[in-house]
């Protein structure tokens, strides 16, 4: 950001007045004082009205009502304090003798009490004005305190926020700064492990003037200069009308010479946390000499592959220390310090040499070989084609890498034809990889990056351009894969590297928080069958697939069947053939199921478990068709086989199976153990959102508030959590600077406060609900309600509704995760439901 835009942003955030009404005049205190003086005022009023104002009468009144003295002093604008009163020759209290009272009365009239009382204004009003004047002396402390309090809160919050991510916490530690004079100029000294990194000073200027301008253009720049000698930055929190009126020249000077100027609002809105984080991450500062030595080490490593202590222009001891300090400060580089400490060299000198050579004379084949070696793999099978060399290489199998990656090299850089060629090869030889690498003799410039990212959107894979500079970084890195990962995030269309699965069963890497349910199923199927009940997209299929694997490991003989297209008994037979490879009877009927299972068991001692996903359609068919006048023959056959122990079943479904299992009149009421699949726990859903983001190198600012907001917005629904995650990744796509990608609760809020998110939320939670269930949810959304009250409310629109039907509807809504019971009351479980509704109207509402 340019200095001009920083200043513009600073000016936009200046608060000219920080005070509330009570900060300026403390009316509570003023009115209290007036009220307490009520009786004295009335005596003084009587003195004024009942006769001429004279020394004698005033002395007499002071004798009879000494409480009028304080009021009298206030009226002549004394800010009553003993010493101040005495200074003006007045007594601290009403004298006890007559002459003393007369002297006091004379003095009071002399200094103006008579003139004040000669006005026609009521004494109460005069006293009120006088109390306002007295209050003005306290104002300074109030306003100063307010500003100070807000700064203190901002600093504390920023520290808490950055400490979420720092390996070593940042703390307020005044004595970390040895210079006491400098310390006094600062409000806070912030340190990491005792090393001061930042000083915070504050200035609130109500007006602009010579002194104020000087502070900004001289005092604080000098302070920064002095702090810099300790390697510290100065955070100057400046605000007030005086700052707003500061000239451009003054602010230019301030911004040029102070490291981190900001307003209070900017500090509160994240700027402070941002600069604290940046500062804390900076390596420890060096003295001038140390910096020079460090420069020499860096230069030597650039030019060749090692540097010795003897080469440095300092004594051996400091030279060895300098090498060790360099290695410590550059942990991201692949450096090795000899055991004597006297030689520092590259861990992979050949890679560094090759990268150096390629920067001078680029060679396609060598570039591919270099990258492969840096990633600790080989470029076997590198192929030359149309002037390009390419190879498929092995990578880590962690996001965003997928185990394989296409690397191509073409010195002249990317062209449309090269893009096409790379995409074709990447799709074929590194399927599933979201990106390929193109090594060229020129790095992407700052001006190229936007257009490059935009073009990625329509390519089948992202093409990450790696020029000599980036290749050198990779060759010199302690973890080359991290450098490449950063480049991927920087250059990619991020929707391709989004780890979130929106529409299908989730792979193992995204399987979170279903351990208890999996254990229940596995624990049950030894002796009984299970009905896994859950709404659409809640994760039934993912759980069943996971359980199948677990059953396999636990020495069961599991068979998973996707029944989405199974609507009849014959369809089931076709499934057995296509998915399990077992031919059922030609005209398959439920009574043939036993024979089929015997064939599947084929002499194995392992217990057979049949997992049937999305069973609702088959159950519906089964309900409507009979064998020998008996309905539900398929389900009955399953039951018999389960009771005989020939096989156990795990069914998953939604409404149909739930109704069969829940209905006490159903012959299958007691057949399976029902297991409702609800939303994830808070911990699991937070992990599901945050872990994949972090895995691809996205930092989460303040995970606590991020997770808390995400929880409120999803209530733990796994699909909605993944949708939110995907949209967050896409949101990053629009960031011009992707060097340190991070997401905060503000981003979560920005994603959620959209019609798209509200629509997705409601269609996921509510999409399968029938009109009665929807009406119930809307009533419950108004506030908790007892079932009886709910029934009464619904009777008008649904006269036929009875308790049983209501209970059935409530059970479905509970299954969908929309409502829950709390002490017998029905309450909303989907926390964001009402807010999501606010994005919509309704047939009976007026257009917004």
């Amino acid at each position: 950001m340019s200095s001009a835009s920083l200043i513009e942003e600073f000016r936009e955030n200046v608060t000219s007045i920080l005070l509330s009404e009570d900060d300026f005049i403390d009316w509570g205190s003023v009115n209290g004082s007036v009220s307490r003086a009520e009786q004295a005022v009335s005596h003084l009023e009587a003195f004024r009205c009942d006769g001429p104002i004279s020394v004698e009468r005033l002395a007499q009144t002071l004798d009879e009502h000494p409480d009028i003295y304080d009021v009298a002093l206030s009226l002549v604008a004394f800010n009553t304090s003993g010493s101040q009163v005495s200074k003006w020759g007045l007594s601290a209290a009403v004298p006890k003798n007559q002459s003393g009272r007369e002297h006091l009365a004379r003095q009071l009239l002399h200094i103006g009490l008579g003139k004040v009382l000669a006005t026609s204004a009521p004494i109460t009003d005069l006293l009120t004005v006088a109390e306002v004047y007295k209050d003005s002396f306290r104002r300074r402390f109030r306003s100063g305190d307010r500003f100070g309090t807000e700064v203190r809160i901002a600093v504390s919050r920023a520290i808490a926020q950055v400490n979420q991510t720092l390996p070593t916490p940042l703390r307020i530690k005044s004595d970390a700064l040895a210079d006491v004079t400098l310390r006094r100029s600062l409000d806070y000294v912030l340190a990491v492990e005792g090393r001061p990194i930042v000083g915070v000073a504050t200035v609130f200027q109500n007006q602009s003037g010579g002194r104020q301008q000087r502070d900004l253009s001289l005092t604080y720049p000098v302070l920064q200069q002095k702090l810099a000698e300790y390697g510290m930055g100065l955070v100057l929190i400046a605000d007030g009308q005086g700052i707003a009126e500061a000239s451009d020249r003054t602010l230019n000077l301030l911004f040029e010479s102070v490291r981190f100027p900001m307003t209070l609002r900017q500090a509160e809105n994240g700027r402070l946390a941002e600069v604290l984080l940046t500062s804390a991450k900076q390596p420890a500062p060096e003295t001038l000499d140390a910096a020079a030595v460090s420069r020499l080490i860096s230069g030597a490593l650039d030019a060749r592959n090692s540097v010795t202590a003897a080469e440095l222009p300092v004594a051996e001891g400091p030279a060895v220390l300098a090498l060790a300090r360099f290695a410590e400060a550059h942990r991201d580089l692949g450096l090795a310090l000899a055991s004597t400490g006297s030689v520092l060299s590259w861990v992979h000198p050949q890679l560094v040499d090759d990268a150096r050579r390629l920067a001078i004379a680029f060679d396609n084949r060598q570039a591919v070989g270099l990258l492969a070696r840096a990633l600790n793999t080989a470029d076997e099978g590198a192929t030359a084609e149309d002037g390009m060399v390419w190879a498929s290489i092995t990578t880590p199998d962690e996001p965003p890498f997928t185990g394989k990656m296409l690397v191509a090299a073409y010195a002249a850089g990317v062209t449309n034809d090269i893009r096409k060629l790379i995409c074709r090869h990447a799709l074929e030889f590194a399927p599933g990889s979201a990106f390929a690498v193109l090594l060229t003799e020129r790095d992407l410039g700052a001006s190229d990056i936007e257009a490059h990212r935009k073009r990625q959107a329509v390519l089948p894979v992202n093409i990450v351009i790696v020029g000599p500079r980036l290749l050198r970084q990779i060759a010199r890195a302690a973890r080359p894969v991290d450098v490449l990962n950063k480049a991927v995030l920087d250059q990619s269309d991020l929707s391709k590297v989004s780890p979130f699965i929106l529409s299908n069963a989730t792979p193992t890497r995204m399987f979170f928080g279903r351990d208890a349910e999996a254990a229940t199923i596995i624990g049950t199927v030894s002796t009984n069958s299970v009905a896994l009940l859950g709404s659409r997209r809640i994760g039934k299929t993912s759980l069943l697939r996971h359980v199948r694997q677990e059953l396999d490991d636990a020495n069961f003989l599991p068979f998973f069947g996707d029944c989405q297209t199974v609507k009849t008994w014959s369809d089931f037979a076709a499934l057995a053939k296509s998915q399990w490879g077992f031919e059922a009877e030609k005209d398959f009927r439920p009574q043939h199921l036993g024979g089929l299972i015997s064939a599947m068991k084929a002499g194995s001692e392992k217990p057979v478990v049949i997992l049937l996903d999305e069973i609702d359609q088959l159950l519906e068919w089964d309900r409507l068709h009979e064998v020998d006048s008996v309905p539900e023959a398929f389900f009955r056959a399953c039951r018999s086989l389960s009771q005989e122990g020939a096989a156990q079943f795990v069914f998953s479904g939604e409404r149909t199976i739930a109704q069969r299992i829940w209905d006490p009149q159903s012959p299958h009421w007691n057949f399976c153990r029902p297991l409702s699949l609800a939303q994830l726990t808070r911990d699991a859903s937070t992990l599901l959102l945050i872990q994949p983001l972090k895995a691809i190198g996205i930092r989460i600012v303040d995970e606590t508030s991020f997770g808390a907001l995400a929880w409120r917005l999803t209530s733990g629904h796994p699909q909605i959590s993944q949708f939110l995650g995907d949209r967050l990744v896409r949101r990053l796509d629009s960031r011009p600077n992707r060097q340190d990608l991070e997401l905060s609760a503000d981003d979560v809020k920005a994603v959620a406060e959209t019609y798209e998110y509200a629509e997705h939320y409601l269609s996921t939670y509510w999409g399968q609900a029938n009109p009665l269930e929807r009406e119930i949810s809307l009533i419950v959304a108004e506030g908790g309600i007892l079932p009886a009250g709910l029934l009464r409310r619904l009777k008008t629109s649904h006269p036929e509704l009875d308790e049983a039907k209501l209970q059935a509807a409530l059970r479905m809504l509970e299954l969908y995760g929309i409502v829950a019971y709390n002490d017998g009351e029905i309450v909303l479980r989907a926390e964001w439901f009402n807010e999501a509704q606010s994005y919509f109207g309704g047939r009976n509402s007026a257009p917004a």
């Binding site: 799709l427 959107a457 609507k567 019609y755 109207g841 257009p847």
Partner: protein, 491 residues
């Protein structure tokens, strides 16, 4: 050049790329399946053709299956074989062995070239499978491919296939929700042309570079590509472009266009949609109800767009037509003919006797055609006939006891030819009298005026209180509106 029918050819230099096309390719390239929904004549097919070409450039084999072009098949097996053959032909794998069976997933799976690169299948006009059973099986089988993706190996067809389903339909009702592949898709809606694109297109099509003309077109039809081209064509070569344009707009506003007729017919044929349309006419906007597919479908059809929490008509033209249409309760004064539209026979679904349903529907259709043809007496007779068919059907569904009760309650006096037990023998006057008795809670109460209007078909009655045919035009508007209300409230 303008393209008012069919897709815009691949090499047309005037083709204007829209945002949804980039979004579509982006989602597909991010390994997502896509549901592309949008109005008819809104550029979906043109976009798919271009997508196919672009993907081929990057080495992504792509096949476009246009279900509108499918021949009539006698069996499901023949249908999926045709789909598979279409894919094979475009992927160059016609020689691959074809397995037995009816699973389209398996058939397409064997149509892929060996390898691991993605293959894209574009299913255009995805709703165009008339048989509901076939439709459900077909899409269920495709959904099953998606379900396998989580565990599929890279060479497995489930891992390689990516689908785009395109059309102008209701995804939530086209097939059973449980086995719908649309549920696993990223949804993309087509977008209109932007103002600058309209200007460019008008200039390219008409040769007229007048910004004011383009602006006027944009004001009237927004960025609806078909209508923009239609208006642009109309001014091509005209000396007074502005006058020609206004004349064409006036014609469109009377509903005199297949495009407008088709849209309004669809809306009026579904009570849920026409209620939303009527609300937009009455209040200028209809608040969107959460998770209600009717509101979504109004947008898919192209009639409405969302504005904040409300739906509004997508452009001025549709708003004008609706405001003047008596069928939507519109009271705006139409310059000549009020826009009136035939509706689908499905809209008469509450009429249970199939013959009476057909009679009611065709009478209504005749009424609309007569009005549009300038024959108002015939139009009134048509509306009356449609109503009479609906009433007979409703009364025929009642028990004898209920009929007796209605006769007593409404003091109906049946004439000599009218049989108590056979409402089809009743005069219309008595059918109308009896109707409110069975009207349910919605207050179904047809007016006798319809009967008078219907009787104008008899010359002697028409002559007894003679008015010329054109003087009955307001009555036709009222009758159309009444008919719509009665059809909506019919028990």
């Amino acid at each position: 050049m303008a393209h008012l029918q069919g897709a815009v050819p691949l090499k047309d230099p005037d083709y204007v790329e829209r945002k949804f096309e980039v979004d579509l390719q982006r989602e597909l390239m991010a390994d997502r399946w896509v549901l592309l929904l949008g109005p008819r004549q809104h550029g979906k097919t043109s976009a798919l053709i271009r997508l196919k070409s672009a993907l081929a450039d990057y080495g992504v084999p792509t096949a476009l299956v246009d279900l509108q072009a499918k021949p009539v098949h006698q069996t499901y097996s023949a249908f999926v074989t045709w789909v598979s053959d279409t894919v094979r032909e475009q992927l160059g794998t016609t020689g691959h062995p074809m397995p037995d069976g009816e699973d389209v997933g398996a058939l397409i799976g064997t149509a892929l070239q060996p390898g691991r690169s993605p293959v894209v299948i574009l299913i255009d006009e995805a709703s165009n499978i008339a048989d509901a059973t076939w439709r459900n099986v077909f899409y269920g089988q495709l959904r099953a491919i998606s379900s396998r993706r989580a565990e599929a190996s890279p060479a497995d067809s489930a891992a390689r296939l990516r689908f785009v389903f395109s059309g102008s339909f209701r995804p939530e009702t086209l097939i059973d929700a449980a086995n719908s592949p649309f549920n696993v898709c990223e949804r993309i809606d087509t977008d209109d042309l932007a103002s600058a694109q309209v200007h460019q297109l008008v200039s390219d099509v008409s040769g007229n570079d007048d910004v004011a003309i383009a602006q006027r077109i944009f004001e009237e039809v927004g960025g609806q590509p078909f209508l923009v081209q239609k208006l642009a064509l109309r001014i091509q070569g005209q000396e007074d472009s502005s006058a020609a344009l206004e004349a064409e707009i006036a014609t469109l506003r009377m509903g005199e266009s297949d495009h407008v007729i088709d849209l309004f017919r669809k809306m009026l044929s579904e009570p849920g949609l026409s209620a939303i349309g009527a609300r937009m006419v009455r209040d200028g906007a209809a608040p969107v109800e959460a998770a209600d597919p009717d509101f979504r479908y109004m947008q898919v059809l192209g009639l409405a767009r969302r504005q904040g929490a409300n739906l509004v008509f997508r452009n001025e033209l549709y708003a004008h037509v609706a405001a003047a249409s008596p069928q939507l309760g519109g009271t705006a004064v139409a310059p000549a003919l009020a826009p009136m539209f035939p509706i689908a026979i499905a809209a008469f679904g509450k009429v249970q006797d199939p013959e009476l349903r057909e009679i009611a529907w065709s009478s209504h259709k005749g009424a609309i055609a007569s009005y549009r043809g300038g024959a108002n007496r015939l139009a009134l007779a048509g509306f009356g006939g449609s109503l009479e068919a609906m009433l007979i059907d409703m009364l025929q569904r009642q028990s004898e006891a209920a009929i007796d009760a209605a006769i007593t309650a409404k003091e109906i006096k049946l004439g000599g030819r009218e049989k108590r037990s056979d409402p089809s023998s009743w005069n219309l006057v008595n059918l109308i009298k009896a109707a409110p008795h069975f009207g349910g809670s919605k207050g179904f109460d047809p007016p006798q005026a319809l009967r008078n209007w219907r009787n104008l078909i008899h010359p002697s009655l028409a002559k007894s209180d003679y008015r010329s045919d054109e003087q009955f035009e307001p009555e036709v508007r009222a009758a159309a509106s009444l008919h719509e209300i009665l059809l909506r409230d019919l028990p």
